[in-house]
C-alpha cells in the first residue's frame, strides 16, 4: 500500500473518529448537563414487574450458545460467497459449480441440524 492508497482510507479514519467522538461527547455531555438526583426508586434495576433477586451470573441453557455457534459457521459460509459474487461474470459456470458443491456440503450440515432438532430452542 503506498501513500496514494493510504489517502483512500482517510474517509474511513474520519468515520471512526466521528463515531468515537460521538460516544465520548454524548457521555460527557449527559454527565455535565443531566440533573443529578439520587432516589432509591430510580436506581432500582426494574421500575415495574418482579423485583430482582440474586445476581446476574446465572448459567443458562447451552442450546442458545449452540445456536450462536451455528450462526457463526454459516456466517463464514456467506463470507466465502463475497469473493465469488465480485468475480461472478469472470468465473462463469465453473464458479457456480464450485460454490454449489461448497454450499451443498453445508446444506448437508443444515439437514443434519434440522434432523437432530438443534435449531429448535423452545423445548
Amino acid at each position: 500500500m503506498n501513500n496514494s492508497t493510504l489517502i483512500q482510507y482517510l474517509p474511513i479514519a474520519i468515520m471512526f473518529l466521528i463515531a468515537v467522538a460521538f460516544v465520548v461527547v454524548t457521555m460527557v455531555a449527559s454527565h455535565l448537563l443531566g440533573p443529578k438526583k439520587y432516589s432509591k426508586v430510580k436506581y432500582n434495576v426494574f421500575e415495574c414487574g418482579v423485583h430482582s433477586e440474586g445476581n446476574a451470573r446465572n448459567p443458562f441453557a447451552v442450546k442458545y450458545f449452540l445456536t450462536a455457534l451455528l450462526f457463526v459457521l454459516f456466517d463464514v459460509e456467506v463470507i466465502f460467497m463475497y469473493p465469488w459474487a465480485t468475480n461472478f461474470k469472470e468465473l462463469g459456470l465453473f464458479g457456480v459449480i464450485e460454490v454449489l458443491t461448497f454450499s451443498l456440503l453445508l446444506l448437508v450440515g443444515l439437514y443434519y441440524l434440522l434432523k437432530k432438532d438443534v435449531l429448535n430452542i423452545r423445548d
Binding site: 446465572n58 442450546k63 450458545f65 456466517d75 468475480n87 461448497f102 456440503l105
Partner: protein, 170 residues
C-alpha cells in the same frame, strides 16, 4: 517526522495499541472487560492487515472475530457461572506453570519467525492483492481445493458442536 514514513508511524501506533490491549486482556480483573479489550486488539490488528495490503482479511477480521466470535466469548463467560465462591483459585504453582508454558510458546514463535525470509521483504508495495476481486480470482482458480475443503471443515465443526452441545441426540 523522525525520518519515519507515514506507514511506519501507523504501524508503530497500531502495533503498540494491539500489544497494549492484549496486555489489558490478560491483566483486567473482569472477564467481560477482557473480552472488550480483545475486541479493541482485533481492531488494531485489522489496521495492521490494511497496511499489509490485506483489505479483505481486515474486514473479515472485524466482521467475524470482533463481531461474531467475541459475542460467543461473551456467551461462554455468561455460561460459566463465575460467582466469587465458585471461582477456581489460581495458586502460585499454576501461575508459574502458565508462565513457563507461555514463555516457551514465545520462544518457539520468535525462533521460527527469526529465520523466516518473509520478514526481510518490504510489504509496503503498491499491490492490490488483498482486494476482494483479486482474492476471489485466486481463491476460485488456484486454491480451489483448499476452498472446498473449508466446507468439510465447517461441516465437521457443525457436527462436533452438536455432538458436544446436545444432551440427548436422537
Amino acid at each position: 517526522m523522525l525520518g519515519l514514513s507515514v506507514h511506519q508511524w501507523l504501524f508503530g501506533i497500531l502495533s503498540f495499541l494491539a500489544v497494549l490491549f492484549s496486555l489489558m486482556v490478560v491483566f483486567s480483573r473482569s472477564p467481560i472487560n477482557s473480552v472488550l479489550y480483545l475486541i479493541m486488539s482485533f481492531f488494531s490488528i485489522s489496521g495492521i492487515y490494511l497496511l499489509l495490503d490485506a483489505q479483505f482479511l481486515a474486514v473479515v477480521n472485524i466482521v467475524v472475530y470482533a463481531g461474531a466470535i467475541m459475542v460467543l466469548f461473551l456467551f461462554v463467560i455468561m455460561l460459566m457461572n463465575l460467582n466469587h465462591d465458585t471461582e477456581p483459585q489460581r495458586t502460585v504453582l499454576t501461575k508459574i506453570i502458565a508462565g513457563i508454558i507461555g514463555g516457551m510458546l514465545l520462544l518457539v514463535l520468535t525462533s521460527v519467525l527469526k529465520g523466516s525470509s518473509a520478514l526481510n521483504k518490504s510489504f509496503y508495495g503498491t499491490s492490490e492483492v488483498g482486494l476482494i476481486k483479486n482474492l476471489g480470482n485466486v481463491l476460485f482458480t488456484e486454491f480451489l481445493f483448499p476452498f472446498e475443503i473449508v466446507s468439510v471443515l465447517l461441516l465437521a465443526a457443525m457436527v462436533g458442536a452438536v455432538m458436544m452441545g446436545k444432551k440427548n441426540i436422537n
